[in-house]
């Protein structure tokens, strides 16, 4: 494994999943995994196995739903879709992440006033 890949930041996986489903509409697990890797420009080392328990947790929170359906190659697959509660959560989390990355950015390039 290359060293320049980053581990998924704790708690950010849920956000990425929600954003993916919001943008692409219903997806199956592999699709979500691929999309996350693509968006990150393959810079993110996603342990794909951790995705599934995360998906279950999101369902338990009521932010996504799942149902079995046929995939593009006509095989049975489980499709996940974002719910209204999920969209609301996505908005809050987006705001959150923006604020956090803002703060982190200030630490990364400290200016004279803030240090």
């Amino acid at each position: 494994m290359s060293k320049d890949k980053t581990d998924v930041l704790h708690g950010s996986l849920a956000f990425m999943v929600l954003r993916t489903l919001d943008t692409l509409g219903p997806q199956h697990g592999w699709g979500i995994a691929r999309r996350i890797e693509q968006i990150s420009g393959d810079a993110l080392e996603l342990n794909q196995g951790t995705l599934y328990p995360a998906l279950l947790r999101l369902q338990q929170m009521g932010w996504i739903t799942s149902k079995w359906g046929a995939s593009e190659n006509n095989r049975r697959a489980r499709f996940y879709a974002i719910t209204r509660a999920g969209k609301k959560q996505l908005a809050t989390e987006a705001e959150n992440w923006e604020r956090i990355s803002d703060i982190i950015a200030r630490f990364v390039r400290p200016t004279r006033e803030s240090s």
């Binding site: 697990g29 794909q48 196995g49 947790r57 009521g62 049975r76 697959a77």
Partner: protein, 887 residues
């Protein structure tokens, strides 16, 4: 909200597994296929594509486990697994399970039963009465005297007026009432109560009403009664139109105004009241005239209910201040008189006070039994844990953490003790009415039942958890020590009495032996005490003297009619064949009725200031001392001359003579009782008056005719058995007045025996549990020794091969078992020496360190130990050296 949602989802996940596994497989499989296809598109070879895909996904088993854990509630699932596994293990060895559950049922059941007795007899003795924790008993004290007396009605009213911290004063006096039903008379116990009785207790009659304010005032003004549910059902067949009907009580017609609810037995620990009358009717039911205006007549057995949040100390301070005021306001009746509030379990005037220490001992005994039972089950589990050591080792080797194993063992223990607790509550339910059976029947309905309420349940559940920890941790400690490498290798062989694993089991046996030794010593002491009481002389004849009574008071006789009747009956009785002598007495010794008590003054005796000497006395007829066999040390006894018209006389007992005359012969000098001077004509030898354990105190006798009472007992010295005499007496009484009922005819021996119920309860408890404890300890010892022998076959074989004879091996094994027993006996003796003095109040003429009790406990323990060790020792001698060394 979300948290709740997640919890619900997960909870449902515990049970609703459904297609979880299949779905998981399918989804992960689909993922792999897609990844492989993608990799192939990127130009990898099929093998590369597959392994790369697998690498990216990670360990399938691991994902599934995380997934499963997220799906349900892991804690619950593990518990569920432990429970199912535990049940399976217990089902697989039913013999062990049943034995363990029986042991624990005994331990937990005995505890639950005693808890329920303490709850139902001492802490909340009055069913249906609300807020019993705020109810206190109230009694009068006298400065310089021990003991307590009742409260007078005027004092009672003044306390009520003067106390702000107390919600309600409840007056109550138990009495025997004669009911007339058609042509037969029946005795019941009843309460003379203040008008607020039912309201203050929070008991609401199911028919009619309780008493109304004002019904407790006005001499004989309110002949009304509230009857018990039992009486309504039994005597009036549950007549729905009962209210307004009448019933003759002590010869006077009373109107029934109410029916008490089912399960309300009144407010006297030990008896079930059948009816209640207001205090205004006191004169009809109590001898001694009208007392509602007499501050000196102390007859009320009262209770108070505190206002919420008030402590007993605060209320005591307030009521004592009122009592002090009354002392200055009414010095002639109240000088030196105080007042004391008691928690219900210390109530001085009912059976609670007498039962409290006995129940305390019962509690100690059952806790010991529980410990012994736990030790035994711990031992059984330990044996099993050796058998299961292989299983445990394999589980450890496969990576189970030790905590999980511990939890498994505790779960199994909890299953056992839960079963046992359920069984124990059934046992406690059966034992609810056991106490009342140990207390002699006195001809009136009694109520002395255990109470199985939520507090008892909670406490029993606590005991169940506590004992689980005790016994289940024993094998857990053991399993914590499993040495993987050593245990997976062949069974290492032990040595008889060798150190190592055996020490836990040996110490368990040590605990068992010492506790059962302690119980045996206790049992020995109370049995001896009971025998000492049986063999002791109370100072009067117990053989050849019969006792009975005719209640002329309840039949409505006035004094003159009663005197005539008593004279006629006495003539007839003395003429009966086999009668040596007969005499009346208001109170017969050892009866449950109380003696009169009066302030006294003696010529030439100066009482300390602030102190009013008082003494109990009895009103007795001519020939009383010869009939009862009480010797006179000086002077003469009463005779027919000592009547209303003669000089007032008295006979004092020895301690009274010693205290007030300081060694001089009292005969010829005077004593003042209730303001009347009496000439002392005799000194009686000290005898027991109420029970065997009372301490000697001043007591005197006055002639019945000079202090007349219509309610007297009849004592007869005769060689005839009670049944013959009862028939003859009933004929004579009937010939004089067909409406009179004769009380039961019993020997004085019987009367004396009835006061030993505390001792008999103790003998029953200590005897039964002591026996069981020895049995359990013997089983424990047997288990340890058998196991030791079976584990050291190789050593035994070796010894035999080297020339040891069977008797040597027998001695080897026996001596090990007996050493354990000896250790237990030493520990038990030390504990017994420290603890048996708590039995003091039960012990009559027996020292708490009585060598006979210790000796016989030692003998019983030794025999049990020999029996328990013999079989394993004998088996040791049958070891086949060749086989033992080969195996």
């Amino acid at each position: 909200m979300t948290k709740l949602r997640v919890l619900l989802w997960r909870l449902s996940g515990v049970v609703r597994k459904g297609n979880l596994e299949q779905d998981m497989d399918e989804e992960l499989n689909y993922h792999l296929q897609m990844e492989i296809a993608e990799n192939l598109r990127k130009g990898m070879t099929p093998e590369e594509a597959k392994s790369a895909a697998q690498r990216r996904l990670g360990g399938i088993a691991q994902i599934k486990e995380t997934y499963r854990e997220t799906h349900g509630l892991p804690v619950l699932q593990v518990l569920w697994q432990d429970l199912r596994f535990g049940f399976r293990m217990l089902r697989r060895s039913p013999g062990f399970s049943i034995l363990a559950i029986l042991c624990l049922t005994l331990g937990i059941g005995a505890n639950a039963a005693v808890f329920s007795w303490i709850e139902g007899v001492l802490l909340r003795p009055f069913p249906l009465v609300t807020h019993q924790e705020r109810v206190l008993a109230v009694s009068t004290t006298s400065r310089g005297m021990s003991g307590y007396s009742d409260v007078s009605w005027p004092d009672f009213l003044d306390f009520q007026k003067g106390c702000t911290l107390i919600d309600a004063f409840i007056a109550d006096k138990i009495m025997g009432v004669t009911l007339s039903i058609g042509d037969r008379a029946e005795r019941v116990s009843a309460g003379i109560v203040s008008a607020n009785y039912f309201d203050a207790l929070g008991v609401h009659p199911i028919l009619g009403r309780g008493f109304e304010p004002g019904e407790d005032s006005g001499r004989n003004a309110h002949p009304v009664t509230v009857i018990s549910y039992q009486m309504w059902k039994d005597r009036f067949n549950g007549d729905p139109a009962i209210i307004g009907k009448t019933q003759i009580l002590n010869g006077l017609r009373h109107t029934i105004v109410g029916v008490a609810p089912e399960g309300f037995y009144g407010t006297f620990v030990g008896y079930a009241f059948q009816l209640w009358v207001p205090a205004s009717m006191e004169e009809t039911f109590e001898t001694g005239g009208y007392k509602l205006e007499d501050r000196g007549a102390r007859w009320i057995e009262g209770f108070v209910r505190l206002k919420p949040g008030v402590t007993r100390e605060q209320a005591q301070q307030e009521i004592s201040a009122v009592a002090q005021r009354l002392e200055t306001d009414y010095p002639e009746t109240n000088r030196g008189r105080g007042i004391k509030l008691f928690p219900l379990w210390q109530t001085p005037f009912n059976n609670a006070g007498a039962l409290a220490p006995t129940l305390g001992i019962a509690l100690a005994v059952v806790i010991f039994v529980l410990l012994i039972a736990c030790a035994n089950v711990g031992n059984l589990l330990l044996v099993r844990s050796f058998a299961r050591r292989h299983e445990m080792t394999v589980r450890l080797a496969l990576g189970a953490d030790r905590f999980r194993l511990l939890r498994q063992l505790l779960t199994e223990g909890l299953i056992l003790s839960t079963f046992a607790a359920a069984g124990g509550l059934v046992v406690a339910h059966w034992c609810r009415n056991l106490l009342v059976r140990l207390i002699p029947w006195r001809g009136v309905p009694m109520y002395l039942a255990g109470e199985l309420d939520w507090r008892v349940f909670a406490l029993s559940a606590g005991v169940c958890l506590f004992s689980t920890l005790l016994f289940a941790l024993v094998p857990a400690i053991q399993s914590g020590k499993i040495d993987l490498a050593a245990a997976l290798k062949a069974e290492s062989s032990g040595v008889v009495g060798g150190r190592g694993r055996a020490w836990i089991r040996s110490s368990l046996v040590l605990v068992q032996v010492s506790l059962s030794f302690l119980l045996l010593v206790g049992a020995g002491l109370v049995i001896q005490s009971l025998q000492a009481i049986r063999g002791a002389s109370p100072g009067f004849s117990t053989e050849g003297v019969l006792n009975t009574a005719v209640n002329l008071f309840a039949a409505g006789y006035d004094a003159q009619r009663a005197k005539n009747f008593q004279d006629q009956l006495m003539e007839r009785v003395q003429a009966l064949p086999g009668v040596e002598s007969a005499s009346y007495a208001r109170i017969t010794p050892f009866s449950y009725r109380s003696y009169s008590s009066a302030p006294i003054a003696v010529d030439g005796y100066q009482a300390p200031p602030d102190e009013q000497p008082t003494a109990d006395y009895d009103e007795v007829g001519p020939g009383y001392f010869s009939t009862m066999g009480i010797p006179l040390v000086s002077g003469r006894e009463f005779n027919r001359v000592d009547d209303e018209n003669a000089l007032l006389v008295a006979i004092v007992n020895e301690p009274m003579g010693a205290q007030f005359w300081r060694g001089a012969d009292p005969v010829g000098s005077r004593v003042q009782v209730k303001g009347r001077w009496m000439q002392v004509v005799g000194v009686a030898k000290l005898s027991k008056y109420r029970n065997f354990l009372e301490t000697p105190k001043p007591f005197f006798y006055v002639p019945l005719r000079q202090n007349f009472s219509t309610q007297v007992g009849l004592n007869i010295r005769t060689t005839q058995p009670p049944q013959t005499m009862a028939a003859a007496l009933a004929r004579e009484v009937h010939a004089l007045d067909a409406d009179l009922a004769l009380y039961e005819v019993i020997t004085m021996r019987e009367q004396v025996d009835r006061t030993t119920s505390s001792q008999r309860i103790a003998v029953m408890l200590l005897g039964v549990f002591g026996g069981l404890a020895v049995l359990l300890a013997a089983v424990g010892l047997y288990g340890v020794m058998s196991y030791a022998v079976s584990q050291s076959t190789r050593e035994l074989g070796l010894r035999m091969a080297l020339g040891a004879r069977a008797s040597d091996l027998l001695r080897l094994v026996m001596s090990h078992g007996l050493a354990l027993t000896a250790g237990g006996v030493v520990l038990g003796s030390a504990a017994a020496l420290a603890l048996t003095r708590l039995l003091g109040y039960l012990l009559y003429k027996v020292s708490p360190r009585d060598p006979l009790a210790f000796g016989s406990a030692f003998a019983v323990m030794t025999i049990a130990a020999l029996a328990a060790c013999f079989l394993p020792a004998w088996r040791a001698t049958r070891t086949d050296p060749a086989r033992a060394l080969r195996d």
